[in-house]
Symmetry: C2
Subunit: 161 residues, 2 copies
Amino acid sequence: MRVYIQDTYPEDFAHCYGCGYKNPQGHRFRTYYDEAAGETVTCYRPRPEHTAVPGFVYGGLIASLIDCHSSGSAAIFKMLAEGRRPGQGEAPRFVTARLEVDYLRPTPLGPELCVRGRAAEVKDRKVVVESRLFAGDQETVRGRAVLVLLPEGMARRARDA
Amino acid sequence: MRVYIQDTYPEDFAHCYGCGYKNPQGHRFRTYYDEAAGETVTCYRPRPEHTAVPGFVYGGLIASLIDCHSSGSAAIFKMLAEGRRPGQGEAPRFVTARLEVDYLRPTPLGPELCVRGRAAEVKDRKVVVESRLFAGDQETVRGRAVLVLLPEGMARRARDA
C-alpha cells in the first residue's frame, strides 16, 4: 500500500497550507517513495485559477509544490537513512531553509504535475533534495531545497499556538 | 498618488494567481516604487490558513509573494531605466526564470509582511531583483530572482487562450 508521508506527520505539525491534513483550505500535496526509481514523488493537478499568464501554471504554485515536496522528501530520506520505512512511526518534520527554483520553460496549465526528488545530502538535522517537475512527460522546472529539522523553539510555539 | 505596477499590466497578461487584477481568486499582491528609498515594496497580510506549523507563515506563500514582488519590481526597474515612471503607459511583463528564497528565521503569522526590493541588474530583456521580507520590523527572509521579458511564444499562446 502506498504511504503518503504527510499523512504520518505528528498531529501538532500537520496544519501546513501546502500539505497538512489538518488544513482544509490548503493544497494537500502528498508525497510517496517510488522504491523502484529511488525517488520521492508528489503529483498535483493545478486548478484553473492557478494561472501565470493564460495557459500556463503560476510560478508561485510551482514553488509551493516543490517546497512541500522537498520537506516531505526530506522526511522520507531521513527515515530511510535511519533504516525506517515511510509509515513506520511518525515522520520527522522538516522545514525549508533555502529554496531554489529554475523555471526551464513555461509549464502548461492542464496536465497533472509530478515532481520527482532525490537526496543530494542526508545529515543528522539537514537534508538536501533535488527535484524535477514534469507536466505530463515534459520536464519544465528544476528545484533544489535545503531542509532542516523543525527547530525546537518553533515546535514549542506551534504546540502552544 | 501611489501607482501599483500590476494595475498597469496589459489586460491580456493580468490573470496571475499571485498578482493579476483579472484573477478574483488570487492573492492580488501589489507592488509600488518607494522613491525615497529607491526600493520596490509589496505588502500582504497572510490569512489564518496560510500556516506552516501553527503560528508561522507558510513558506510557499512567502515564495509566491517574493515571486510576484520580483516580476513587478522588474517591470518598475526596467521602466525607470528607460526613463519612464510607473503609470506612464503599460508596464512590461516579466516572468521568473529563477527564484531563490532564504528562510533566515521563522516568519510569525499575524503581522503584515512587506518585501522590499532592489535591482541588482537591469538589462534589455533581463532583470535581477534582490529582496528582503519583513514581518513587522523583523527581517525573516531574503530573496533573489532572475526575471526575463515574457517570451513572444508564451505571449501569443496567452492571448489565444
